[in-house]
Subunit: 110 residues, 2 copies
DNA sequence: TGGTAGTACCTTGTGTTACAAGGTACTAGG
DNA sequence: CCTAGTACCTTGTAACACAAGGTACTACCA
């Protein structure tokens, strides 16, 4: 409510792009959650654990990503995620959508 | 659910940008709902009435837009919307956010 | 041995919101 | 006066990000 509406709108803008960005990050290299969080913070897309875990599960159950367990020297084992074939195809489509969208909006912002 | 997930992701991408785009459209010129819907369709951002009306009410109650009634020759009177001072300020901030975001994502898509 | 810190996984509850569907009411033309 | 076109709005539903809380593994050290 109240006067945090600007920040609320900002996070709303990020929201819709989240899933897309996570697919992008995973497509670069197999990674696990903490790493993903770190990379997204670097690119201005704040996410928290409570958002990321359910999202990864969703992508898994949609067959877009898969994971392997890997031991860690500094704690419990990690789930390393990678895109499946279907995930790569979906990502390619989303990139097109993104290009179209960002072009449309850029034309409005002038 | 099932295999509409691509389209679902697409619409999810559009979602977060919707409010921003509506502010953009209104900033160009005072308009009313049907006109807004038309313009958004031209730029790939599909919206429906059931989404737009509550959204406009929300923007109104946040003090970002205001409206005047205007008679129409082809039906009931229309609410013509325009940005308030606060709306313009907010939009300027959102434009910055958009620039940052789109730059970040573009750097990932290469 | 057992206590603390760090890391990693996951779940539950809440509020927001887009959308589908349905509803009211005004104008104009036949 | 009845239909078509236009414009406004509401209700119910499902998805989703986030906050908060929880479990469990490793390593270090007293």
């Amino acid at each position: 409510m109240h006067e945090e509406s600007l920040e609320q709108k900002r996070s709303q803008m990020r929201k819709g792009l989240l899933e897309f960005c996570i697919l992008l990050v995973i497509s670069e290299d197999r990674t696990y959650s903490t790493d993903i969080l770190k990379k997204l913070k670097e690119t201005d897309l704040l996410v928290v654990e409570g958002t990321l875990y359910p999202l990864l599960s969703r992508l898994k159950s949609q067959g877009l990503v898969e994971y392997d367990w890997e031991e860690s020297k500094s704690g419990p084992p990690r789930k390393y995620y990678a895109l499946t074939k279907k995930g790569k195809e979906t990502l390619a489509e989303l990139k097109k959508t993104w290009k179209g969208l960002s072009a449309s909006i850029s034309s409005l912002t002038d």
